[in-house]
């Protein structure tokens, strides 16, 4: 591989309120790879994802983006990364269209049409319905619609499949596969068994503190 990995972590450790959660965690994420973070509840999966998304700062260790220390390139990194957490990050009082209207300028990239994105996640015809009338699964789909709109190369998705029905999961798997093939990379956590090829795994139990 001539080009440096999209994301490389060296010896990441995290402690919350002086109690260590995990330590010594290192991995590299190359283009075209999908990394599934596995581990029991409370093993720090969400914490790791929030560290990768720069929402949390690790107690120790360093992270490299395209070979550069993340510390100096936070803004470019965030420009090229999309993080979807447990909460959808969608305002219930607004309609899906209005929600995407304020979420898109945060990552201003060549984007596709909002209607196409909402149709792709199965919300066709519901673009102008207030989100508080939508179900939890539909709310998450509004957040997932951002994946169709953004050109960020690194996606960090926390439990993207929860509350999504069968065909929604199928579509999402295809989307992740295409993204990887186009040279992007994905980090996900899920308790289901995603049918994805070149899926690599990272088990938190190896880094947990005994």
């Amino acid at each position: 591989m001539s080009a440096p990995p999209i994301l490389e972590c060296r010896d990441i450790a995290f402690e919350r309120d002086y109690t260590p959660i995990f330590s010594g965690l290192s991995f590299t994420l190359w283009r075209g790879q999908i990394l599934q973070v596995k581990g029991a509840n409370g093993s720090g999966k969400t914490t790791l994802l929030r560290i990768l998304a720069t929402s949390l700062t690790a107690s120790q260790g360093s992270m490299f983006w395209h070979g550069n220390d993340l510390e100096g390139h936070r803004q470019e990194y965030r420009f090229d990364m999309l993080y979807l957490g447990h909460q959808p990050g969608v305002k219930a009082a607004l309609t899906p269209r209005e929600n995407l209207a304020w979420l898109r300028p945060l990552h201003p990239k060549a984007g596709h049409d909002t209607n196409q994105a909402l149709a792709a996640v199965g919300l066709a015809g519901m673009e102008d319905v207030p989100c508080h009338t939508l179900s939890a699964g539909q709310l998450r789909r509004v957040a997932l619609a951002r994946l169709y709109l953004s050109d960020a190369s690194l996606w960090i998705l926390d439990e993207p499949f929860t509350a999504i029905d069968r065909d929604g999961v199928g579509k999402l798997e295809i989307l992740l596969q295409d993204h990887a093939q186009r040279g992007g990379a994905v980090v996900i956590t899920t308790h289901q068994h995603p049918q994805l090829d070149n899926l690599c795994e990272l088990d938190m139990v190896r880094y947990g503190v005994s």
Partner: protein, 235 residues
């Protein structure tokens, strides 16, 4: 796919600022009822003074400048909590913090909307309170001008407290505790501007300092609030 050596990404920060501004305005419009709460509180507290102190207009006139300002301060304090709470609960605050856009600018947009929705209506309503508390005629002009500047400064300072207590359950009372001392200079110059005008002295000096306080808080507050939000999200 961008990589660091590509030209620095064109961030369109202005569009992001406008997007957050319109988002919050539409949200405020969707919850129109909530906009009335600080105003109702403002007028209700005004009726406490005659009930509690004296209905006699001569004495009320002495109290009016200071009391109206105290009530405006309390009303804006009550509404400061709503600034980030809803965004924190549904995760949109984290999305704002993780965007490449400068967080202090997005926070500035939110503070401006918060002022438009609470501070400005309070200012426009204050002459009504002036009448209720028999404020002398000379005081009305300076009252509106001082509240115009003052409520903006209060929204700015209140944002810091709101950001610090957003992750704390039932953080509302704590918000008032940590923000009240920072409100005092604004109250001092705001209320004395009206008092000076009532006493026939030109209030321009006090209003000028009030403007300086607003400028100072505009300079400090967005950055302090952005820093405080990142701390709260870390918690």
């Amino acid at each position: 796919m961008a990589s660091p050596d590509a030209a620095p990404p064109e961030l369109a920060t202005a569009t992001a600022f406008r997007a957050v501004l319109t988002r919050d305005l539409t949200l405020a419009f969707r919850h129109r009822g909530d906009m009335a709460n600080p105003l109702i509180f403002f007028v209700m507290v005004a009726t406490l003074v005659p009930l509690g102190v004296t209905p006699e207009s001569g004495q009320l006139a002495l109290l009016a400048p200071g009391m109206i300002w105290v009530m405006a301060l309390l009303a804006s304090l009550l509404s400061a909590e709503t600034l980030f709470l809803a965004d924190h609960r549904d995760g949109s605050l984290e999305q704002l913090a993780l965007s490449p856009q400068p967080l202090w600018l997005l926070v500035l947009a939110k503070i401006i909307v918060h002022w438009l929705v609470t501070g400005l209506p309070l200012t426009l309503l204050s002459p009504l309170l002036g009448v209720m508390l028999s404020l002398p005629q000379a005081g009305f002009g300076p009252l509106v001008v001082s509240l115009l500047l003052g409520t903006a400064a209060l929204s700015m300072i209140g944002a810091i407290g709101a950001a610090l207590t957003v992750a704390i359950p039932r953080g509302g009372l704590l918000l008032s505790l940590i923000v009240m001392p920072l409100y005092m200079p604004v109250l001092i110059f705001g209320a004395s501007a009206v008092q000076l005008a009532v006493d026939g002295i030109s209030p321009s000096g006090a209003l000028a300092i009030l403007g300086a306080l607003l400028a100072f808080s505009c300079l400090i507050s967005p950055f302090a609030t952005a820093g405080a939000l990142r701390v709260s999200l870390h918690g």
